[in-house]
Each structure stands twice: as C-alpha cells, then as structure tokens.
C-alpha cells in the first residue's frame, strides 16, 4: 500500500448520501468504470469529468449515509480519487470502504481548514494531512489495528480466505 496520497481537494458539505454518490438509476450494473462515470452526479455534475487521479474528497459529517450500496466506494475508487477525508462517516460506508480498499479518514480540523482545489498530501501511516496550498498540517488518528490487518491481508475476502486455510 502506498502510504502517501497526493491530490487536490473536492469539498462537499454534511450528510453526503450514497444516493448522490451513485444514484440508484445506475445500480443495474456493478462495472467500476461505468459507475465512476456517474460518481457524485447528483451533487456535482462536473466531478466525474474533472476529477484527476489522486484527488481527495473532503466532506463534513456523516459522509456516505443511506444505502449500503458498495457501488458508492467502488465508484469513488474507480473515479481516480485516492481517499475521502470527512468529519465523520456513516457506518456501512465506513465498513465498505475498508472492505473495498478505499482509504478514508476522520479528520474534523483538517476538513474545516480545506477549501476546494487546495493541494493535499496525506501520510496514512503517520496520520498526517498537509494542506500544501494553505501551508498547514493536521494530525488524525491512524486507522485502527483491525482495519490495518484487513488492509494488510488485501481486503476482507483475502482475510477470510487466510483464516479458512488456517483452520
């Protein structure tokens, strides 16, 4: 896992729900590339076309609330975005992101200090987010040990497969 992520910020507000991350009208497919074309469509129609590899979504509280659709983290990951930083995450989205391998971080102070378009660098292992545009640095709690195990195993399925072999 590359522990340093770099990209520009896409800033959104509170309670960004999975229906705007990937509207249900596109859930008749699970193809990542196709889902990515509609990522964030109902909240920001420009996102899918303009997002660059490595960019980071920055949002307020309760990001990913609503439906359990794993298509949401799949769409974000396939769009090229490298991570999501938010004040807090809805719990199913939180699970899905880790199970899928999309890094996400709760960093409330950083969220307040970031504007759309700011250049960000995130060191996942150390738990440091640098806003290079504003010249500010924030610390956040690194991911919990169990999540690190999941990530180290290559996601939940591999984790399960390894456990199953062991029994």
């Amino acid at each position: 896992m590359n522990s340093e992520l770099r990209g520009k910020a896409w800033k959104y507000g509170d309670d960004v729900d999975t229906d705007v991350i990937i509207p249900a009208r596109y859930l008749n497919t699970s193809d990542p590339a196709e889902l990515a074309r509609h990522c964030m469509e109902d909240i920001d129609a420009s996102f899918a076309a303009k997002v660059s590899n490595g960019d980071i979504i920055v949002a307020g509280k309760n990001f990913g609330c609503g439906s359990s659709r794993e298509h949401a983290p799949i769409a974000i990951k396939a769009s090229g975005a490298s991570a999501v930083v938010a004040r807090s995450f809805a719990r199913i989205f939180y699970r899905n992101a880790f199970n899928m391998g999309l890094p996400i971080f709760e960093a409330p102070e950083a969220v307040d200090g970031i504007e759309a378009g700011d250049r960000l660098a995130v060191d996942m292992e150390k738990g440091i987010l640098r806003n290079e545009t504003k010249g500010r640095e924030y610390r956040f709690t690194p991911i919990p040990p169990f999540m690190q195990e999941l990530v180290a195993a290559g996601g939940l399925l591999n984790y399960i497969a390894i456990r199953k072999k062991g029994t």
Binding site: D15, D17, D19, V20, P23, A24, R25, L27, N28, T29, S30, E41, D42, I43, K61, N62, C65, G66, S67, S68, R69, E70, H71, P73, I74, S88, A90, R91, I92, R95, N96, N99, M100, P144, F146, G155, L156, L157, I160, A161, R163, K164
Partner: protein, 419 residues
C-alpha cells in the same frame, strides 16, 4: 457484567460470556441476506474465492426485489446471476418473482428471522428485524460474500442509546411518526455507530407492524440497529411463523447506556419529513400548503397489511385528487392476497389508485413511479435524499400511510381530519 440487549445477542453469537462497547468481535450469523442490487457484487466476490459451497444453504437468503420484476435488460442480467447462483449452490431461500416480496417484510413474515438472531444483510434496512428482538444490521456486498463463505461477520460492539417510550399515541399517529419524531430530535447521525434500544410502557401500544417501521428507520439516524424487547406481541408474531427454535433474550438490569431519550407518545402528532433529509421533520399541523403530484404507499418501511388497511380506510368512498397519481405497493405476495381478500384492492382501484405487484420500485428511484424534474411526492418510504425517487430536482416528503392517503385525496399534504 450487565449487558444491553444488543451486547447480549452479540456476546452469544461470538461465543463469549460478555462483550463491551468498542470491542471488535467475530460473530456467527443466523441469516445472511442479499438483493438484486447488492448480490451480484457479492456473488462475484464469492466465486473469486473458489469456495465449493456456502456456509449453510438454509441460512443465505436472496431476494430480487429492488429492480424486480426486471425493469430493464441489465436488471434482468443481475437477477439472472442471482438465480443461477442460487441454483448452483442450492440456496434454499431464493424468492422468485411471483413468490417474492420486499426482503425486510418477507423474511420475518416467512419466519426466517426469529427473536435472538444475529442477521446481516447487504441492504441498509436490514435493521428492520430489531422489532423481533433480534440483532440485525446492514452491511456491504463484500461482507455478504465473506459471511456466505464463513458464516461469520466482524462487528464493532456499539454503544447503546436507550429510548424510553411512554403514553398512548393519539389518532392518526403510527410507528412512522414515532421514528420520524426521534430522527427529527437527534438528527440523521444522532445515533451514529450506536444501537438504539427501545424501552418503556409505551411499547405495549405499538403493534408489531409499527415496531418494524421504527426499527427499519434506525439507519436513518445513523444507527447500527434498532431493537425492541421481547414481549407478548413479539411472542404471538414469532410463534405463528418461526421456522427455527428461538431463545428469548432480555437486557440485564444495570446495563450501561451511552444516553437516554424519552418520547411521550401521547404528545405526538403525525410527522412529515421535508426534503432532503429524514431528520428534516415538522408536525403535520405546521406543514402549510404543499401540493403533491404523486403519492406512494409501500416499501419495507410501510408496505404491510396494517399500512394498506389504514390507507384504504381513508380512501374508502373517496377519490384520488385529479392532479395526483397514487401508487400502492403491498410488500409481499401474502399481503397482496390478503389485501384482495379484505377488499382493500377494490378500495384503492375504485379511488383511482394504481395497485402494484410487490417491489421496492420508486422508493429508491428504481422504477414504477419515477418523478420528473420539479415534481413532488409524498411517500411512506424511508428516504427523501436528493434524486431519491427520480430527477435530482424532484422532491420527496415522508409520512405515514394515513397521511399519504389523505394527501392523495386533498392534492396537497394533509391529514384524514381535513377530509
């Protein structure tokens, strides 16, 4: 150690004498559920592991309800993938169109979820079964795949928010109003990562149908689950249906709660959630003049026979307003049949409403009642996010079935007392 209802069920399924909030546990699941939107990803993941069989053929439930009956070719492909998987792996509880229903009404009604269970489902409204004094929570497709392989799920033991219900609800107030009121009070992340556990003498006034509605929308407050204690009503419901033996679980005296909220049911009036969050609520009397284009009665939240009876009583001898389309979705084939036997279907059709086969349909903007730009609906469903029922510039208001039916007659949001 004294435990809450949720802690107790989790401990039991983790093979532990006790668990505490914040702990990560690996727990056995009694049932794992997927639908036509979430199963395809889970099936692909399952197949990628090359496992010869699912952990238990009777404990996986696959229900094509979201875009079924198939709304387009791609939806048909997704359901076909489910059907073929079910055949190949001998999944006992695959429910075909014509025998299916909306998963969260169907599975407890079929007796496949019983009190004390631990159920996970790749659908956020899996929390519905808390009404049966079971722990149930929504997960993603990868979690479903993992559970199909191992019969287990990793869970973080949540803190519990205790919600004490007292008093008797007044006329036109139903389960939907109780939960909308609570979400309005605490917000759409007011119970984030937490269990909501109901208590108090007010519970006795909540029939099972209402409890299912209350538990169903726990996710709309950010909660992991919403659980009711086991009582005489739970026993009646479970004993009439349960396909497995069950053990009754109760919270321990002295269990620790992260917080407490009191709700006086007698003080409630019907509640309406305005766009675009379920927590954006107003009492019905403060709604003002809000004309509607469409009325939807149905969904895993309010598609039960009791919901249809309430809506039909309001509509009996009346007509749906000229400017309104009303669509009614019984949640299962059993409920459809019951509505037919009781003459409810005739009431709806005579009033000028459409009566559909069971499907999640328009609730998530799938099919069977999508809104155009600028249109407005009042629905008994669970979410009113931007674009939830169609165009991103359409609007959804959430309410109980009698308010929805009255609004269909009035052509604007209003209650049965205005008719």
């Amino acid at each position: 150690m004294a435990m809450t209802l949720t802690e107790k069920i989790l401990a039991r399924h983790a093979g532990r004498t006790s668990v505490s909030p914040g702990e990560l546990i690996l727990a056995k699941v009694d049932l794992a559920l997927g639908n036509d939107v979430t199963s395809p990803i889970a099936i692909q993941a399952f197949r990628s592991l090359g496992v010869p069989e699912v952990f238990d053929r009777e404990r996986v439930a696959l229900v094509p309800d979201h875009f079924a009956p198939n709304k387009d070719i791609r939806s048909a492909e997704q359901v076909k993938m489910m059907r073929e998987f079910a055949r190949e792996y001998g999944i006992v509880n695959y429910f075909e169109v014509g025998r299916m229903g909306i998963e969260h009404v169907l599975l407890p009604d079929e007796g496949l979820v019983v009190p004390g269970d631990l159920v996970i489902g790749a659908d956020s409204h899996t929390c519905t079964y808390g009404a049966l004094c079971a722990f149930s929570t929504g997960v993603g497709s990868t979690d479903l795949a993992a559970a199909m392989v191992s019969g287990e799920v990793w869970l973080k033991v949540p803190d519990t928010l205790r919600i004490v219900l007292s008093g008797m609800p007044g006329k036109w107030v139903e389960g939907k109003d109780v939960i909308l009121h609570i979400i309005g009070e605490i917000g759409v992340d007011g119970a984030l990562y937490q269990a909501m556990e109901y208590a108090g003498d007010g519970i006795a006034h909540l029939p099972m149908a209402w409890r299912f509605t209350v538990s169903n929308m726990a996710i709309e407050a950010g909660a992991k689950n919403g659980i009711f204690p086991f009582d005489a009503a739970t026993k009646r419901y479970a004993d009439a249906r349960a396909k497995r033996r069950y053990e009754v679980v109760a919270a321990d005296p002295g269990a620790r709660y992260a917080g407490e909220l009191s709700v006086d049911l007698a003080a409630l009036e019907p509640v309406v959630a305005f766009p675009h969050l379920p927590g954006n609520t107003k009492p019905l009397s403060q709604v003002g003049n809000v004309p509607v284009d469409q009325v939807v009665v149905g969904s895993c939240t309010n598609g039960r026979i009791e919901d249809l009876r309430g809506a039909a009583e309001v509509l009996r001898g009346r007509k749906v307003h000229d400017g309104v389309r009303m669509i009614v979705f019984p949640a299962t084939q059993e409920i459809y049949l019951q509505a037919m036997r009781e003459g409810l279907m005739e009431v709806f059709v005579t009033a000028g409403a459409a009566f559909s086969t069971p499907t999640c349909g328009p609730c998530l903007g799938g099919h069977m009642g999508i809104l155009a730009k600028g249109e407005r609906a009042i629905a008994t469903t669970n979410r009113n996010f931007v674009g939830r029922m169609g165009h991103p510039e359409s609007e959804v208001y959430l309410a109980n079935p009698v308010v929805a039916a009255a609004s269909a007659v009035l052509g604007r949001i209003g209650g049965p007392d205005e008719l």
